[in-house]
């Protein structure tokens, strides 16, 4: 579903990603871990299409299409959805309005009509209950005055409504207390199925206690230094990142 080959990317002239190769198939959950400054956020940003990141070498294909040729909104319409580490506030725009606009924009891109209002409301009510959110959230301005945990729940709520093919979660666990973490993890787990893939970027292993990955990759200095199964995450938690750096890349 997602094929990254020898990806190099720069930010303001500095090379941050120095040759990443990664393949994610439908049904898989991958976690990317690594110390601060390793390039985790840059990788998310490049995949989501944020400005200011230049790909200097390598390719990314999503569902057989060249991702770098796609506009930000086209990536979302094709089914790649990013959950943000720091979701932005949009004053005056109701949460429900954003959800509806996003859903219908994606439907339109896939040649579907707008979802009828009663059907939409039913869907939203179901998902918001699942995320243990109060329905008053729907009528508040997008992320405005939300706590850190509420913002993250809101990101996952959007995922549940928009049902992406590939969910990209950028440090979704940061700033969450243990209860919020459980709810967020349940939300993500409910997305798992054989046709969908999930890519999580995280600094800590604790998220992976709740969302079990199929593969774990350690990103160090812009390269994947080591890959393994979920036990690799446990090892990292116990031993830190130092030993990976010292170990010669296989």
């Amino acid at each position: 579903m997602l094929e990254i080959k020898d990806l190099h990317a720069t930010v303001e002239g500095n090379e941050i990603l120095k040759g990443i190769t990664l393949s994610i198939k439908p049904g898989e959950v991958h976690a990317i871990m690594g110390p601060n400054g390793a390039g985790k956020s840059t990788l998310s940003a490049v995949l989501a299409g944020r400005d200011g990141y230049e790909v200097t070498q390598g390719t990314i294909t999503f569902d057989g299409k060249d991702l770098m040729e796609m506009e930000v909104e086209e990536r979302a319409q094709a089914g790649l959805l990013m959950g943000f580490q720091y979701p932005v506030e949009i004053p005056g725009v109701k949460n429900i309005y954003l959800l509806k606009s996003a859903l219908n924009a994606q439907r339109a891109a896939r040649g579907l009509d707008e979802m009828p209002a009663p059907e939409f409301m039913k869907l939203i009510k179901e998902k918001i209950a699942f995320m243990k959110m109060d329905s008053s959230f729907l009528h508040r301005a997008v992320n405005e005055g939300f706590s850190g945990g509420e913002k993250k729940r809101n990101e996952i709520l959007q995922m549940l409504v928009l049902q992406p093919k590939l969910a990209l979660l950028d440090e979704i666990d940061s700033g969450l207390d243990i209860d919020a973490m459980k709810v967020v993890a349940e939300g993500v787990n409910s997305l798992r199925d054989e046709n969908r893939a999930i890519l999580m970027v995280t600094h800590y292993q604790r998220l992976l206690d709740h969302i079990t990955p199929d593969q774990v990759h350690v990103l160090i200095d812009g390269r994947i230094a080591k890959s393994g199964d979920r036990h690799l995450a446990e090892e990292l938690e116990a031993r830190g990142y130092e030993w990976v750096i010292e170990e010669p890349a296989a």
């Binding site: 930000v72 909104e73 319409q77 959805l81 932005v88 949009i90 005056g92 924009a105 928009l162």
Partner: protein, 480 residues
């Protein structure tokens, strides 16, 4: 309502009372006493009205065009304007929609304006027969039953001379400013509204019902008088961009609210802003003022300004009655090369008066806009309160927004609050919306509408919906 009403409008024929009596004569360009006498005579006005106009004219002669606004435009040649003209002859107007600026037609398309209406708005020589019988008769009957007077100012001068004479110029005197003086001398069109004591006007009054689509007045004069405990909501303008041959528009609007009266005046202004270089756009220099004359009276201005090449207006309130209230809610959007200098004045004279100002300015393209507001609290207006919030949103880096708040506080027992922000439309906000699959244009319109929400919720329902659509169209292509 709007579309339906417009469709009906397009089919109707003007009957008595709803049209200025335009005849085929035209005076040559230029302004002197004889031109004013000609206008007055054409309108069948009494002597006092002519004297009043001439008095205004003599004051105007001694005045000079103001230069303090943050606007840039070539000097206007007042002797080149024709002050009384019949509508253009059909052969002088565009013969079909093919001759009209395609951009304008595109906008009509996007706003969903019916085909036959587009031609009339664009000034095309169509044989649109405006048939007023159905709409206007029923609605006039309903108003008459309530004792409400709603007619053209010319008709009011003939039919209700005492009411007009008692109030005309009491809020905006003839010599108030350069453009008000000019308007007082030569006005030819406008509305008159009188709501009798204790009456709540049974419907929202709209210029839709009496706009003269063929030739909208260049110098409109509107006077609304709300007697004790009376209420009215008045809607001016229309979301469809209107072409007009007259480049200068200098209207005057006067509102009078007596004890416990409430006047809500909403405007959606969307005059033709000109082509991409700003050519052919309208200069809109308006004087709007409300007089809260009675105790506990209230006047509320709500405006959405998106059109015109140059907009220059400051709907204001004189808070003379004790405990009277003034409100100003404004959204001004400029794009392309538009310029706007707009704001309000709240003059607190009575005790315990309060005023609220919420101004939202959005600048895109190479446009420039200013908020200019005065809050003045007189020494005896103790216990007065003002709250001002003015926010500017910039789209792109070639536009400008400026805020000029003036405060003159004459006593220590009043409360004044002022908040102001200027922000660029956030790249992060845009990226967030786009990363959800929403197109850039829709994202901009969503963010901007969110920014304007505090004002839009003050608009009557159908205006609010249209205003949102209008904003999207106005800002199209402003990012990227």
């Amino acid at each position: 309502m709007a579309t339906e009403a417009m469709e009906q409008l397009a089919r109707r024929e003007y009957k008595q009372g709803f049209v200025t009596d335009i005849e085929s004569d035209t005076v040559p360009p230029g302004l002197d006493e004889s031109v004013i006498a000609f206008i007055s005579q054409k309108k069948g006005e009494p002597q006092w009205m002519l004297d009043w106009r001439l008095e205004a004219y003599h004051q105007w002669l001694k005045m000079t065009s103001p230069s303090w606004a943050h606007l840039d435009y070539p000097p206007i040649d007042y002797q080149a304007i024709s002050y009384f003209s019949a509508p253009k002859k059909p052969e002088d107007r565009p013969q079909s929609l093919d001759e009209v600026d395609p951009k304008l037609l595109e906008t009509y398309e996007k706003l969903g304006i019916p085909l036959h209406e587009r031609a009339a708005l664009a000034g095309v020589a169509v044989d649109a027969v405006f048939d007023s019988v159905s709409v206007t008769t029923t609605f006039r009957e309903k108003l008459a039953e309530a004792g409400v007077i709603f007619c053209s100012i010319s008709e009011a001068i003939r039919e209700y001379p005492e009411l007009v004479r008692q109030h005309l110029g009491t809020v905006v005197p003839q010599g108030d400013n350069y453009f008000a003086a000019l308007n007082s001398a030569v006005f030819t069109d406008g509305s008159f509204v009188y709501i009798p004591e204790g009456v709540t006007c049974p419907m929202e009054l709209s210029t839709y019902f009496r706009i003269n689509a063929a030739n909208t007045g260049q110098f409109e004069r509107t006077l609304i008088v709300c007697d004790k405990r009376a209420q009215v909501s008045y809607l001016e303008g229309c979301t469809a961009p209107q072409r007009d041959e007259n480049q200068l528009h200098a209207a005057v609007v006067e509102l009078v609210a007596l004890e416990d009266a409430y006047i809500k005046y909403s405007t959606v202004q969307n005059w033709y802003p000109g082509d991409e270089d700003g050519k052919g756009g309208i200069y809109n220099f308006v004087t709007k003022r409300g007089d809260c004359r009675g105790d506990r009276s209230r006047i509320s201005w709500t405006q959405v300004e998106t059109g015109s090449a140059i907009t220059w207006k400051y709907p204001s309130c004189l808070l003379r009655g004790n405990e009277s209230k003034g409100e100003f809610y404004s959204v001004a959007v400029t794009n392309g090369r538009q310029q706007a200098d707009t704001g309000t004045k709240m003059i607190h004279i009575g005790k315990d008066t309060s005023s609220t100002i919420v101004s939202k300015g959005i600048a895109a393209g190479k446009s420039n806009q200013s908020y200019r507001g005065l809050v003045k609290v007189s020494p005896r207006a103790t216990g007065s309160r003002n709250f001002t919030q003015c926010d500017s949103l910039l789209i792109g880096d070639k536009c400008g927004a400026h805020t000029f708040p003036y405060q003159e506080i004459g006593n220590s027992r009043s409360t004044i609050e002022h908040e102001a922000t200027t922000s660029k439309i956030g790249d992060d906000q845009l990226f967030y919306c786009k990363s959800r699959g929403i197109s850039e244009e829709d994202a901009v319109s969503m963010i901007v509408n969110g920014f304007c929400k505090d004002v839009f919720q003050e608009l009557p329902m159908e205006f609010a919906v249209e205003a949102e659509a209008l904003l999207s169209v106005t800002l199209e292509g402003s990012v990227g």
